[in-house]
């Protein structure tokens, strides 16, 4: 039997970004013992990268806003595939969750009368995003971290989880290792919360860090939980495209919120050319109206650059494909033009978008106050994830909860910008609360040695194999390359069938990977272990995308370019079958509660 250290908690939270920290804080407040596992150092999780803001109908800037409008905007953005109960809870509770951050020390930018300032963002009818310049995520994670460390939770930094442990049907713990030394850990817990974020590392061009390997998705799937909406992967319209080494790094939607415009190589503002019917009434039809909207004119309609991300990304792809792209296969995003409108434009841009200014200056030698940026779509977010109960965030497996990006339901076919930071606060809090409740009502489970033994041998396998020619980095690169090419922004049947063959083949090769060196902070070994979850999520995305034979939200098929009503009323779920195969189901969307249906009608 391999050596391992045991730890016991009432609630184990896996992942320490916004959702995990918020869950851990809530569970601690309920008086149970909490362990918080993070793959990186505390405070480095991907939430730190969030730029634009957190959506909450505080109505500080426009008093016409309210939870009902936020709810309607979220449902419209998700093309009515969202779980309406989650969308309701999210819209109702986000304002309290944001105000609570202020009580914990967060310093959001202010309105003239001293309240939290809110900015415009794509798909939100009114200025709704509380923000701190363009580093809102840093402010949020640091606030949660600095508050959380004094709440009595145990933090396990630089630990990775490779398997969930079960007692019968119920999840009662997790097995993992510390990245620094490679020592094994068994965590016993009465309830486990997954808050591991997304899957961006399954694609080549992504705004996501190395951590985003679909761990929570894969762990849940392996433990028997159902996944939902995996075909919906958000490609953010504006990532950096040049130089090559920064390709994919995010350029915040806040640039467009502050008046930035998209143009092609002919100088044409192409977003005016194609405005979807759902948004015709609420979109400006001339440049001047769009500009005054970004400057707070309440009578104006928003510029087409602030249409939903799925649509903007596809328009950019169209421009590039039809030969009107920029030199490095992007389009132009220009904020410098506002010097025509504002005498202090340079200072204004640096104050509103400091980290964008910094990022382009340092990494691309571009001064965004003087010239346009080159941008193109980048894999940013997965709407799909663990299927959870809307109120409690418990998955289909007892004792297993999920919150934030690794859970699904709120965003449907497409997420609105700003709704992710509010998602992780609202549902992080709920997951923590209900996991603590579950832990109080249920005793400890038993973990048999066999499960631990199996996890140990799987984890050590890359060392035990004879040295082979299979290199874990190469397999990861190839997967990213092929997923980008075959299951990216524009999809079709043939490509995705080929993707499934590639994934199967890469799975076989992953089974032969060997690594050199020892268990101390060994990136080759870590990459080899990450492959398992990356392959599961890649297969889930490809199979769900094959199943949905229509185009909707972030999912676009060139062989089925239109929406199909039949698919408008179903979500796709996936779970592991008895023989280990991936089982797909179409699940009818729950009919809307009457009062919520009325809200949607009022806000059409």
């Amino acid at each position: 039997m391999a050596e391992y250290q045991s730890h016991e908690h009432d609630v184990l939270v896996i992942g320490a970004g916004g959702a995990g920290l918020r869950a851990a804080i809530e569970a601690s407040a309920a008086g149970v013992s909490v362990g918080l596992v993070c793959k990186s150092l505390l405070g480095k999780a991907h939430t730190v990268m969030a730029e634009g803001g957190v959506a909450a109908a505080l109505a500080n800037v426009d008093d016409r806003d309210g939870w009902n409008v936020h709810f309607a905007d979220t449902m419209r953005g998700g093309q009515y595939l969202s779980n309406w109960r989650m969308a309701e809870l999210h819209a109702r509770e986000a304002p309290d969750r944001v105000r609570e951050l202020e009580a914990w020390g967060a310093l959001f930018d202010r309105t003239a009368d001293g309240r939290i300032l809110q900015r415009n963002f794509g798909g939100h009818k009114y200025p709704r995003l509380a923000h701190v310049g363009d580093r809102t995520g840093l402010e949020m994670i640091r606030t949660l971290q600095d508050y959380g460390i004094h709440q009595g939770m145990e933090v396990y930094m630089e630990h990775a989880i490779v398997a969930l442990l079960k007692d019968g049907d119920r999840v009662v713990g997790a097995f993992g290792y510390d990245r620094e030394r490679g020592r094994f850990r068994v965590f016993r817990a009465k309830a486990v919360v997954l808050a591991t974020g997304g899957i961006g590392r399954a694609f080549k061009i992504t705004s996501n860090s190395w951590e985003y390997t679909g761990d929570g998705h894969g762990l849940a799937y392996d433990a028997g939980a159902a996944l939902l909406d995996m075909e919906f992967v958000q490609f953010h319209p504006t990532g950096m495209v040049w130089p090559p080494s920064v390709r994919g790094i995010l350029v915040t939607e806040g640039v467009r919120g502050e008046g930035g415009i998209l143009t092609n190589s002919e100088g044409n503002r192409f977003m005016f050319d194609d405005i979807p019917d759902l948004y015709k009434n609420s979109t400006a039809d001339n440049a001047e109206e769009g500009w005054v909207y970004t400057q707070g004119d309440k009578e104006a309609r928003r510029p087409p650059e602030l249409l939903t991300r799925d649509h903007v990304a596809r328009c950019i792809v169209r421009e590039i494909r039809e030969g009107r792209g920029s030199p490095h296969n992007g389009v132009y995003l220009d904020i410098s033009w506002i010097s025509e409108k504002l005498s202090n434009a340079e200072e204004h841009i640096k104050r509103k978008l400091p980290s964008m200014y910094h990022q382009f200056k340092q990494l691309a030698d571009i001064d965004i106050t003087k010239e346009a940026m080159e941008v193109g779509p980048t894999t940013h977010y997965v709407m799909g994830g663990v299927l959870v109960d809307a109120d409690t965030q418990m998955s289909t497996v007892p004792g297993l909860f999920a919150a934030g990006e690794c859970a699904a339901g709120l965003h449907g076919a497409n997420r609105l910008g700003g709704n992710s930071l509010s998602d992780l606060l609202v549902f992080g809090q709920r997951a923590g609360k209900y996991a603590a409740e579950y832990a109080s009502e249920n005793g400890s489970g038993a973990i048999d040695d066999g499960q631990v033994e199996a996890a140990v041998s799987e984890t050590l396998a890359p060392f035990d194999r004879e040295q082979s020619s299979e290199n874990p980095f190469e397999i990861q690169y190839e997967l990213q390359e092929r997923m980008q090419e075959l299951v990216g922004i524009v999809r079709n049947e043939g490509d995705m069938q080929r993707a499934l063959e590639v994934i199967e083949d890469l799975g076989k090769r992953a089974g032969k990977v060997s690594v050199a060196g020892n268990r101390e902070y060994n990136p080759g070994w870590h990459t080899a272990l990450d492959l398992k979850f990356l392959l599961i999520v890649s297969e889930a995305v490809a199979r769900a995308a094959l199943e949905r034979k229509e185009s909707r939200g972030a999912h676009f098929r060139e062989d089925h370019e239109d929406k199909d009503e039949a698919f408008g009323s179903v979500n796709i779920t996936q779970h592991k079958g008895a023989d280990g195969e991936m089982v797909i189901n179409r699940v009818p969307v729950q009919p809307l509660r009457e009062d919520l249906a009325a809200i949607i009608e009022e806000n059409r």
């Binding site: 600095d146 860090s209 951590e211 101390e520 902070y521």
Partner: protein, 253 residues
């Protein structure tokens, strides 16, 4: 495209030394890209800590040609072409392996700083009013990404190893962000003077020079904190007031 040569420190806490590597450099590459390329090509167990690769998370701190830097924000084109580039781990912290150091001390030291304690809300709905002008100096401190380069370069920690006596520039900035927060009511001056060793800083400004977020650590955070400590503990009137204050019960916010 050109080939660049590197000397990268390999080893653990016990022993180690520099090893030579070379790799092809493309336009726009940063040092972290080169390290990753070396990892994939010839040194799969080369340990390096990183996350966002965009200067926002503060994970990839190291010493490049002797300068404390974020590897993700150090462009290859800004380094001399004709000589080997030296990369080594931060020296103020114990090495775990290769370029990865044990920075856990920073997290433990942070626990010593009393947390935020707001005054009662201004409005019935539990919210506060604050002017943008009043929060801007604190927002500067809150830009900190906890890369710990300021800790690395601080001679009190780096050369004199006074980790027990002095919490370092990063945590001085953390203190300043709390002390100057318009809503905060906590008093941290006693701790700064006694347990956190603010007197050890002799304002050489090395921390300010290496900060990738360009926080004016010494002038805006440490010096004002020093002034407050002096005002509180060495001004006769303040000393008297402090004696009275300590007799009052500590009213909760």
């Amino acid at each position: 495209m050109a080939t660049a040569n590197f000397r990268i420190w390999r080893g653990d806490g016990e022993s180690g030394g520099f090893e030579d590597y070379s790799t092809e450099i493309d336009e726009g590459m940063v040092v972290l890209d080169a390290v990753h390329q070396i990892q994939a090509e010839s040194a799969p167990d080369l340990a390096v800590r990183w996350n966002c690769k965009a200067g926002k998370c503060g994970s990839c701190s190291a010493e490049v040609n002797g300068n404390p830097r974020l590897m993700c924000m150090t462009r290859m084109s800004d380094l001399p072409e004709d000589e080997s580039i030296t990369i080594e781990p931060m020296k103020a912290f114990p090495t775990i392996r290769d370029l990865v150091t044990d920075v856990s001390w920073n997290y433990e030291a942070k626990m010593k700083v009393k947390p935020f304690k707001p005054r009662k809300p201004d409005d019935a709905d539990g919210t506060w009013r604050m002017d943008q002008d009043d929060i801007e100096r604190v927002q500067e401190f809150r830009k900190c990404i906890e890369c710990f380069l300021c800790q690395d370069v601080c001679h009190v920690l780096r050369e004199h190893d006074l980790h027990e006596e002095f919490i370092g520039p990063r945590l001085m900035v953390h203190n300043a962000a709390l002390e100057m927060h318009p809503l905060d009511t906590e008093d941290r001056l006693g701790d700064l003077k006694e347990d956190q060793g603010i007197g050890y800083c002799n304002i050489t400004k090395c921390c300010t020079h290496v900060c990738p977020e360009e926080i004016t650590i010494t002038d805006n955070a440490i010096i004002p904190l020093k002034e407050r400590v002096v005002g509180e503990y060495y001004d006769p009137l303040s000393r008297l007031l402090r004696i009275f204050k300590s007799k009052d019960s500590n009213e909760p916010a």
